[in-house]
Symmetry: C2
Subunit: 359 residues, 2 copies
């Protein structure tokens, strides 16, 4: 079997050893005569997997006591709504920092529930940069919302802000790609399908004292506290997706942990950005250098014809998923945790080769 060089933006590449393990554990998990998909979510077998996933995430991210780790459904898009449902009332103010399409969507949903203050500095600049500072210390703010990595535009908070108001981050596209001081955050959410698993499960990390301030008049299944009280077993969780996530987290621990990830991610991103910087007239990077994402490398070529040619040649050589997001075009190469260094090096080599021929 030839593995594809898969640069999908999410769902995305998973580690081959994880896929092989899942395969080996089908149809019979550990001699039970059942697959994980067939376990009751109330069974000892499943609960062990569920708690294992949680524990590994706590360990890898250094999640302190006093934080809940929840496994929910509905994707980050449901979090765009759940967050303000739980934490905004009409008279409440929240600050949303607009750094890309997803933060805009998060703000749009929140505006149904409270009074939004919007930092649109990055938006005004075409989403190429990340603000150096934000007005997040105002004690009247219910919370401050940021998107740590902007999947579509390829920008990233290289250093995460600190705020006196409770800080909330959508980390969908860079969770577990680098160390994060969880204690600086009131709530973190992330769809699993980029860095830590398949689609179908969303991780929420929430501080108990923030959770305690949540609104009460929210549908039961949309209250964070419902899931916190039930260890994410209030209703049937996406058991198989959580199992795959547990396998991915174990793989991370067995391949150098977060330090190993950081080193590999740095290499992958550097390989591509180096080619961009060597051919600045051919590869027009979208992000300002200081705001470059290590997860999503975005650029265009000088004209649509060359961009098309580049994408066609990339596809021909078997590179998967490098077409830019449908609303913005260009090229986007996603380099999440499970993308091998060699795949990134092969793509960088292709970029160099393309430059030699078209530079």
């Amino acid at each position: 079997m030839k593995r594809a060089d898969n640069f999908n933006a999410g769902p995305a590449a998973l580690p081959l050893p994880v896929l092989e393990r899942i395969q080996a554990e089908l149809p019979d998990y550990g001699g039970t005569g059942m697959s994980v998909m067939e376990f009751s979510h109330r069974s000892a077998e499943y609960e062990a997997i569920h708690n294992d996933a949680q524990m590994r995430l706590r360990r890898l991210l250094g999640i302190p006591d006093g934080y809940q780790v929840l496994f929910l459904q509905g994707g980050a898009s449901l979090q765009f709504a759940m967050l303000p449902m739980n934490f905004l009332k009409p008279a409440d103010k929240a600050l949303y920092v607009l750094t890309g399409t997803w933060s805009q969507k998060a703000a749009d949903e929140a505006s149904r529930y409270g009074e939004l203050i919007v930092d649109d500095w990055a938006k005004q600049g075409g989403y190429r940069d990340i603000p150096e500072s934000i007005a997040g210390d105002d004690p009247s703010l219910r919370y401050v919302h940021i998107t740590s990595n902007n999947t579509i535009y390829g920008t990233q908070w290289r250093s995460l802000p600190k705020t006196k108001a409770p800080l909330v981050a959508d980390m969908s596209s860079d969770i577990l790609s680098r160390p994060v001081q969880v204690e600086e955050f009131a709530l973190i959410y992330a769809g699993a399908q980029k860095n830590i698993g398949p689609s179908g499960v969303t991780v929420v990390i929430v501080r108990d004292d923030f959770l305690a301030t949540a609104n009460q008049d929210v549908p039961t299944v949309l209250q964070y506290s419902t899931h916190a009280k039930a260890n994410s077993l209030y209703n049937t969780p996406p058991t198989f997706a959580i199992y795959v996530m547990a396998c991915v987290l174990q793989w991370v621990e067995e391949t150098g942990g977060l330090a190993g990830i950081v080193e590999r991610n740095r290499k992958k991103a550097a390989a591509l950005y180096d080619v961009i910087d060597t051919h600045p007239n051919l590869y027009l990077g979208h992000a300002e250098k200081r705001a470059r994402s290590e997860m999503n490398v975005t650029f265009r070529l000088p004209n649509d014809e060359l961009t098309k040619l580049f994408l066609a040649e990339a596809a021909e050589r078997g590179f998967v998923g490098v077409k830019g997001y449908r609303t913005v075009g260009g090229v986007r190469v996603s380099l999440y945790n499970a993308v091998p260094v060699e795949a990134a090096l092969r793509f960088a080599e292709f970029m160099q080769d393309f430059a030699r021929r078209n530079g």
Copy 2:
């Protein structure tokens, strides 16, 4: 490998050929060099699977034109909230027919949004029976909500009601177990994890003209119309769960279709109910005969000691998942589509043997 006789209430048994196919298609689906989990939800490969699942469900259930088939996340529990969010306003009335724990939960959520009229006839009788008729023709009703099969109590609408008001059904625990006149319903919802797939995906079937009457002031991701317009690709769907569902639906089509299912389900349920009826003083069936579920067979033994002994022996013989729901106790044997006839016959034989020794 010895397969377990798996009578879990959900997540539940899946067909062995489906598990073997999933195994064979890991880590490389159809020579793509990727697993299904690694496909972008915007890729041609994934969209083919997505549309295949939809088409098979349409075919098997005879879903007419003018209905949308949606694949959502959040389980049936999220539907308890989404339904009234989309279709109730404070002055609206809806009729909820209480036939078990799940219909009560559905009603509880709806009561946040509109004025509920509750039919508690079955509840008054300890959830042993299903009403013979309901007051569902009142034109002032926004909708009527029923639970077609009561997973916990083991009762089922043997013949589904017809109403002049829009009829909504939670079919989580009997979808695709028998023919249903979809055109009698305004909306049907069902978590996949009992009869048609793994947990993590919820099917919603909704009539266009009903959908057109939905409330507008609902979070985007919680509007049915959002998903209808986007062919359930508004945000990242639970791609792998949908793939497994597609495999299950194909298996159904290849093993006699709905007619084959109906025949096997009848045999399985008859085998158990026959033993109950032969030993009415040992096996105290919960449901009135006319309301017996073909999906979940529920009974107790004359005292807690015997029930305990029965459950211990069942576990010892390798029967999985037959303990009654935590809030009601007793025995519950779930006989969803993927449970082989032979497994049910083995359990019936065990019941007979137990009766010989303890009758």
